[in-house]
């Protein structure tokens, strides 16, 4: 049998062979990573090792988590939430994944000429309510308008800062063989909720987006025991987050497929579209990697919190197959869980 060397599987063509940005560069998978690693990091002087949901910096003796994110979701209003909810909760969660207490957000709007002001008002209202629910304040912002040919409704960018408590050290490189992998609840919910009302695809489902601020859940977990890694599995889903952790820490991740909390409506929608629930976006879930000694207490703390009631152990970190995520299938075989490439593409039949 021909053997294949998988030790250095990277695309030999930088940014593929396209001179232009393609949609896949924004998909949260391998193409997004290449864009950051090959264009932005060399220009900014950063390193791959520093990449996390938020940066932790020191200022005036305080440790601050600092993060920014842009929101371009279509449709802007979907079952269970809106672009306004995402713009607050997404950045709050990026800060929380560093163990920080989120405090202040900025908000920047790019508005397409002709957009109904009532729509802008609904988004602003949603952001205000979400900020209050997350105990953060929107303290600064900016607005730009682009002509009707240059935009697509409303784009929102938020940045946020939060305080990291003393002694909290959370980062993707801290995963160790033997660590337990936890997820805070049902996966794939947000992605399916948005897809269910996307133009041309609308299908009947009871699924509502899980968009929610996770800082309270994180605080409860940190009070219960040591946590090595936290990730907010948004674009690219659980698959992207676990692959990034496996690569950063040089560990393998071994999942048990039957333990993955995939609600029937998500599984059915994914089956219909030929998508993998592990690659579908979440907006109110976290992945935690904790030492085995702390796992029971952290899991109990998660389950005691409303946003972690469905928490599950889904696998472990292992010394085998470093950098790769492998799932044991329900039938007893195994399969590699890949980093998504770009956009998720519904299959033909």
């Amino acid at each position: 049998m021909t053997t294949v060397d998988f030790s250095n599987w990277t695309c030999p063509v930088p940014l593929r062979d396209t001179p232009n940005v393609v949609m896949g560069h924004g998909g949260g998978g391998a193409m997004s990573a290449e864009l950051v690693e090959q264009i932005f990091l060399p220009a900014f002087g950063g390193s791959v090792a520093d990449l996390a949901d938020s940066a932790v910096v020191t200022a005036g003796g305080a440790r601050l988590a600092f993060s920014t994110d842009s929101y371009v979701v279509k449709p802007m209003f979907f079952p269970g939430g809106s672009i306004g909810d995402l713009a607050v909760n997404g950045t709050v969660n990026d800060l929380a994944m560093s163990g920080a207490t989120p405090l202040y957000l900025s908000s920047a709007f790019i508005l397409q000429e002709g957009t109904d002001l009532a729509v802008v008002g609904r988004i602003a209202q949603a952001m205000g309510l979400a900020a209050a629910a997350a105990s953060v304040r929107l303290v600064t912002g900016d607005t730009k308008v682009v002509d009707s040919a240059s935009g697509d409704g409303v784009f929102v960018t938020t940045a946020g800062i939060g305080l990291v408590p003393p002694g909290v050290e959370i980062g993707p490189r801290r995963a160790r063989p033997g660590d337990v992998v936890l997820v805070s609840g049902d996966i794939g919910v947000h992605g399916v909720a948005v897809m269910s009302c996307r133009e041309g695809l609308s299908f009947g489902t009871s699924v509502l987006s899980d968009t929610a601020p996770l800082a309270g859940l994180v605080a409860a977990m940190l009070a219960a025991g040591e946590v090595h890694v936290l990730r907010d599995p948004t674009r690219g889903g659980v698959a992207a987050s676990l692959n990034e952790i496996a690569r950063a820490a040089g560990v393998g991740v071994s999942l048990v497929e039957r333990d993955l909390p995939v609600p029937p409506a998500v599984r059915d929608a994914c089956s219909l579209l030929g998508l993998d629930p592990l690659q579908v976006a979440n907006e109110g879930k976290l992945i935690a990697i904790v030492p085995p000694s702390a796992a029971p207490a952290v899991l109990d703390a998660m389950r005691a919190h409303p946003l972690g009631a469905g928490a599950q152990v889904i696998g472990t970190c292992v010394a085998e197959h470093p950098g790769m995520v492998v799932a044991q299938t329900a039938l007893g075989g195994n399969r590699v869980i890949s980093l998504p490439i770009g956009e998720q593409l519904p299959r033909i039949c």
């Binding site: 049998m1 021909t2 053997t3 294949v4 060397d5 998988f6 599987w9 695309c11 030999p12 063509v13 593929r16 062979d17 396209t18 232009n20 940005v21 393609v22 949609m23 896949g24 391998a30 193409m31 041309g200 695809l201 039957r258 029937p264 599984r267 059915d268 089956s271 219909l272 030929g274 197959h321 790769m324 492998v326 299938t329 329900a330 039938l331 007893g332 075989g333 195994n334 399969r335 590699v336 890949s338 490439i341 770009g342 956009e343 593409l345 519904p346 299959r347 033909i348 039949c349």
Partner: protein, 368 residues
Amino acid sequence: MKYLDEFSDPVLARRLLDQIHAATTRPWAMMEVCGGQTHSIIRHGIDQLLPDGIEMIHGPGCPVCVTPLEMIDRALAIAATPGVIFCSFGDMLRVPGSGRDLFTVKSAGADVRVVYSPLDALTIARDNPDREVVFFGIGFETTAPANAMTVYQARRLGVRNFSLLVSHVLVPPAIAAIMEAPNCRVQAFLAAGHVCSVMGTSLYPALAERYRVPIVVTGFEPLDILEGIRQTVVQLESGTHEVTNAYPRAVPPEGNVPARLMLEDVFEVTDRTWRGIGMIPASGWRLSARYRSFDAEERFAVGEIHTDESPLCRAGEVLQGHIKPHECSAFGKECTPRNPLGATMVSSEGACAAYYAYRRLDLVEVGA
């Protein structure tokens, strides 16, 4: 949605696997025709649980994989035409033509839209009467009825700015072509259940008889596939070559009669080139004379575009079951899902993509 839990039950799967193990006394090579079955086999690890002697050969039944390179190039040429709205199912957007794909054309300004039904493309045409709207109608007998219905509706409603780029192919001629190949190792077929749900099973007994191979109509969930394999093994071991139906909940013998009537009206049989395999006589459909004015190939005069495959890519041998994906020297090196040389690495149903996505661990261990 029913039939997911019921047909994925690990306990029942174990029982079927035990029966397959008990029935197998010697090596057998069987081909699952459909790419959806390939994907399911690899994704659920079914191939790892079968007796060592049972070899699953992955067939040419992925609609994306077998769409010829020149047809992709024709699609790219049409999509790049000013004023055109080019509509396609999602997984065609990343299939490489000659140095580009539909994503690339879209990024350069073309109006390329993912739709989930060809009827959506017809709606777009009616909403944009001053634009030419083209739908990329590819696939097997499974996707053809919806495309036929769309062209039928376009003609009935007088929607003149809609056309179909047709690249439909048929399963039975492909089975014959595989069996006629000089180095064919296939001893039995799992027939594609969704194709049979449209076309019925009447075309298969003649193939089973002519080539002395069992043909078992098989579904896509784990238990469907295991039952298909079990019935196939039982036939192989007993020396019979019947057509049996392991997917009766979806496949009546006569198929979907209204759909077949629609297909007979809108399409006519034609020779088709299959990517990586070549021309198979009478193996596809094109629009019939009554509907030829909706043929995008003629409307945009792209029929003369001809393209050669990459010499590195051995997708054709993979599609015919002559080699496994990782036996191609480009697999995982020059050819990955990020930079695919052939459609078998692009499509979510392609054998190469399935091996890359789910089987890298085994291959590492083999090489270790």
